[in-house]
Amino acid sequence: MLQTNLTHVLSEKDHAALLKANENVMICCGRMGPMCIPVYEAMEELEGEYKHVKFADMEFDSPDARIIRNLPECRSFQGLPFVVYYKGGKVVKATTSIQQPKQITTILDEHFGKK
């Protein structure tokens, strides 16, 4: 389990339940590594501001993370973390490698609306 304060997605079942229960979802799929940690921290900070978005993480190396690793939107990705934004259960955006907080909020604002 990742050492963050975010909601942890531990299985494909969790993933499905999360998407079913929430209209707007951001999942950061990574490890406790230098490119991923800043993204988790940005998400933890944003969690209080974007109450209409569910922020979660998923361990990249867990077998069930194939639900994210194998997404067509992530096919060309070769840098951690893989971050996927879902609206109504559908992928609306996916990013690879570290993202600055401003890049994240731009995506959140564009796809989920401003806080």
């Binding site: 050492q3 490890r31 406790m32 590594g33 230098p34 490119m35 991923c36 940690i37 800043p38 921290e41 940005a42 900070e45 944003l46 096919r75 060309s76 990705f77 070769q78 840098g79 951690l80 990013t95 690879t96 490698s97 600055q100 907080p101 401003k102």
Partner: protein, 317 residues
């Protein structure tokens, strides 16, 4: 309306957090404003094994502990924000966020750290995370049995080139000079590794591909000859640049863009101190950042307390 503090610290890495600990423990109202994530470059280190008194700790955990320690002493820490403007020239310094929130203080500590240096060649942004990486330990396993390039000639570049041979079938080190800056033992280890070859006196001119990186154009510095090399990944490990662009023309910077600070961490502007990786110095370690942050905080505290005494004396008169 502006919120007043005694000291504003710009940057929440090792230097900034240490300054926050010292200042808030000295009962000074202290605000840390951090545009990135807490910990700065410290969080880029998987394992810190040379922090005195701590045998082994991840950079992430050390950063979390420092932040918590600062907050316990009463320091306010705000991260992941955007500074819209600042005026550091007057007696009272003012920092404005893009949210419209403004903060003032008689002293400021610049501890904005550094970031990975980029090559600046066409395609670099486009293929970041799609073949281009700045972290070998993060992304090395995506290139198992693939051919990669490591750009750089310093300790990190050569150490990671060797490390990446665990995954890659072939590693080509591309370096702009005819010699390496790395310590001799890193050079020797890389040179004796059969999976590593070297292209010296050369720079990458462009990154090319479709949905992922496929090739690079390499220019030889002496002859100007350009060759195209098919490659699956490129790791750019050419050091760091200080986050000081916004201080140009405000405090004195050296030719490398680093803040020039004296032994007391004072900059060219009264009431403005600096610490950590953003200042001109030779060694950049967590321990040196912590030392800088301590010195900057103690001198900023002295400066602020002297200012308070001046105000009190004027009131008496």
């Amino acid at each position: 309306m502006d919120t007043q503090y005694d000291v504003i610290v710009l940057g929440g890495g090792a230097a900034g957090l240490t300054a926050g600990i010292y200042l808030s423990r000295a009962r000074l109202r202290t605000l840390i404003l951090n545009e990135g994530a807490t910990g700065g470059q410290m969080t880029l280190t998987h394992e810190i094994a040379n922090y005195p008194g701590v045998e082994n700790i991840s950079g992430y955990e050390l950063a979390r502990r420092m932040r918590s320690q600062a907050q316990k002493f009463g320091c306010t820490v705000k991260s992941n924000l955007t500074i819209a403007a600042m005026d550091l020239t007057g007696e009272i310094k003012r920092v404005l966020l893009d949210t419209g929130d403004a903060f003032t203080a008689p002293a400021v500590i610049l501890a904005t750290g550094g970031k990975s240096r980029e090559i600046g060649a066409p395609g670099e942004t486009e293929f970041k995370g799609k073949g281009i990486s700045y972290c070998a330990t993060c992304d090395g396993d995506f290139f198992t049995d693939k051919e990669i390039i490591v750009v750089g000639g310093g300790n990190s570049a050569l150490e990671e080139a060797v490390s990446l041979t665990k995954y890659a079938s072939k590693v080509t080190v591309v370096h702009q000079f005819d010699h390496f800056q790395a310590f001799e033992h890193y050079v020797v280890e890389a040179q004796k590794n059969p999976k590593i070859r070297f292209i010296m006196e050369s720079k990458i001119e462009a990154f090319e591909g479709d949905e992922a990186l496929r090739s690079v154009k390499i220019r030889h510095q002496q002859t100007g000859a350009i060759t195209t090399m098919a490659v699956d990944g490129v790791f750019i490990l050419i050091g760091y640049v200080p986050n000081t662009k916004r201080f140009e023309g405000i405090v004195t910077l050296n030719g490398a863009g680093e803040i020039v600070a004296d032994a007391g961490m004072a900059t060219s502007l009264p009431g403005v101190f600096a610490a950590g990786d953003s200042i001109a110095k030779r060694y950049r370690q967590v321990t040196t950042a912590v030392a800088d942050g301590t010195i900057a905080a103690l001198n900023a505290a002295e400066y602020v307390n002297a200012k308070k005494k001046e105000v009190k004396a004027e009131e008496v008169l």
